[in-house]
């Protein structure tokens, strides 16, 4: 499937859930709504994108949102997919994709650990890189740690 076909297929199936789409080379990029994210990702998996390369979280502090980015690809076709989902910063809950791709397990734990995004339906959502009693989400742009000494130029 070419990127155009993928975009068309998703758009026709979940018309109002796709906020924006773009084609960049072999990569189809989509911004989608949080409510339908799981269904759209499941549909993409059904199209043969069974390889979840990466799951990243980005802090869009300007708009008060957190962004979850899924990089999908397939081992049988050159097309790649990039899906962005935004969740509100105050209550960042999104459906977990672990049932679709097991590899999302650790990626989602990392996103939870670093950005505080809660993944609904994750089998074992614990902190992964920081210690269990860590306070705060270090990769958020407004993260402050009172132990950090502010830098003063000499």
């Amino acid at each position: 499937m070419t990127p155009d076909e993928v975009t068309e297929a998703i758009k026709s199936q979940f018309d109002d859930a796709v906020k924006a789409s773009e084609i960049k080379g072999v990569e189809a990029r989509m911004d989608i709504h949080q409510e339908k994210s799981y269904e759209i990702l499941a549909a993409l998996k059904g199209m043969g994108f069974d390889y979840l390369n990466c799951l990243s979280a980005v802090d869009r502090i300007a708009s008060g949102e957190l962004e979850v980015v899924y990089n999908l690809s397939s081992l049988s076709q050159p097309t790649k997919i990039l899906v962005r989902v935004r969740v509100p910063r105050e209550d960042p809950i999104i459906r977990s994709v672990v049932p679709l791709w097991s590899t999302a397990d650790w990626h989602e734990r990392e996103a939870f650990d670093m950005m505080g995004i809660r993944f609904d339906g994750h089998p074992d959502l614990r902190r992964i890189l920081t210690s269990e009693d860590w306070v705060g989400y270090p990769l958020r742009k407004d993260y402050q740690d009172e132990r950090l000494v502010p830098y003063e130029p000499v």
Binding site: Y51, N53, S56, L75, K80, L82, T103
Partner: protein
């Protein structure tokens, strides 16, 4: 048993038939500071729970506070056994984000150094796998060869482990005059060494019996867990980013992609073992075709990528090394995320490690080939 331990035993209903053993974070076979909580039934491992993060050093947060060129030395510390390849992946990502054309000669240099690094990395893996299985001698042999590669790297970059040698847009220094001859001499010397490893490891019946049929990972599970690199190929999937999603100039070289059948430790061993042969081939071809010319492309005074994001992946010695960069148009990345192959490959350990013996956990872990610097970032 101490009183506290008694209490824990009471709490967890622990008996000697089913006990918890902490392997690591200080343990000779966890290749760093990995901690595995093993639930044992006698000698049989019924559950493996990895605990990572002992080497976490906020790599991504640091990246957000550095300009694009300053990140290069930090990438060295990711997979410190394949620093050249981390540089490679990172500069490739930035170049694609900005749209910089890299001169021909620099591309060849990158491939030569990258493939030598792959050999060096696989040598370390070979040696440590040998150590895990009790074969000390292969460790010394592998390190002997690796030293020679490090000598080559030192002559090029002045460093032996953390090179920070690739630059956005090309390479900072040309090869020294003696490099080509040295590198050819090394390859000639290295090629007869590979059968020596076979004699010590592949042909050894004890080694074969130890690893065959161990830690099997079928292709479906491998894709489900997004396993990459030699581990994926051992599971029978012919997938190599150098061939299937070519970057740099890898489409110009002839090389085979070794593939396993059952995805056990033996297959992973054989895939990496043959990959060393293939890397030698690539280096030879690249040395042959090395063109003269510029080594660094035209760069703007200040590196300010356009607003946007990009995910780029390269085939590092451990698998798919991906960088996800988000730019807000400033000199620093807005978000800098590393998709490390070892992190993803390690996540399958609870699946393939279940039901084997303690000694096998060590072998399986060795065959995953993790580097904690990359897992914990």
């Amino acid at each position: 048993m101490s009183p506290q331990e008694m209490e824990i035993a009471e709490d967890t209903q622990e008996t000697m038939e089913e006990m918890y053993v902490n392997m690591g974070p200080q343990h000779p076979s966890t290749h760093g500071v990995l901690r595995l909580l093993l639930k044992l039934d006698g000698e049989v491992v019924t559950e493996v729970i990895p605990y990572i993060g002992y080497l976490h050093r906020c790599h991504e947060k640091i990246g957000e506070n550095r300009i694009f060129t300053q990140i290069i030395p930090y990438t060295d510390r990711l997979d410190y056994l394949a620093s050249m390849y981390n540089n490679f992946g990172y500069v490739l990502t930035v170049e694609r984000l900005i749209g910089i054309v890299v001169p021909e000669r620099a591309e060849y240099m990158r491939v030569i150094l990258g493939e030598l690094q792959r050999i060096a990395s696989h040598l370390i893996w070979l040696g440590t796998l040998g150590l895990d299985l009790g074969n000390f001698t292969i460790f010394m042999y592998a390190f002997r060869e690796r030293e020679k590669i490090l000598d080559l790297f030192e002559s090029v970059s002045g460093q032996r482990l953390n090179y920070a040698f690739y630059r956005i847009g090309g390479m900072p220094l040309d090869f020294p005059d003696s490099f080509l001859a040295d590198c050819k001499a090394f390859l000639e010397w290295f090629k007869p060494r590979l059968p020596e490893y076979d004699a010590l490891m592949s042909d050894n019946i004890i080694f074969q019996k130890r690893v065959q049929g161990l830690g099997k990972l079928d292709a479906k599970t491998a894709i489900d867990y997004a396993i990459s690199g030699p581990m994926l190929r051992a599971s029978g999937i012919k997938w190599d980013l150098r061939r299937n999603d070519p970057y740099s100039i890898y489409d110009r070289f002839e090389f085979d992609i070794p593939v396993g059948t059952s995805g056990d430790v033996w297959d992973r061993y054989m895939v990496r073992r043959i990959e060393m042969d293939e890397s030698v081939k690539i280096v030879e071809q690249a040395l042959q075709g090395l063109p003269p010319g510029e080594i660094i492309g035209k760069l703007p005074k200040k590196l300010k990528p356009p607003v946007g994001d990009i995910y780029t992946r390269v085939e590092s010695p451990r698998g798919e090394l991906g960088f996800y960069l988000v730019s807000d148009g400033s000199e620093k990345p807005y978000r800098y995320k590393v998709r490390s192959p070892a992190f993803v490959n390690l996540s399958v350990l609870p699946v393939i490690g279940r039901g084997c013996l303690v000694a096998d956990i060590v072998a399986i872990l060795g065959s995953i080939d993790i580097v904690l610097g990359e897992v914990d970032r």
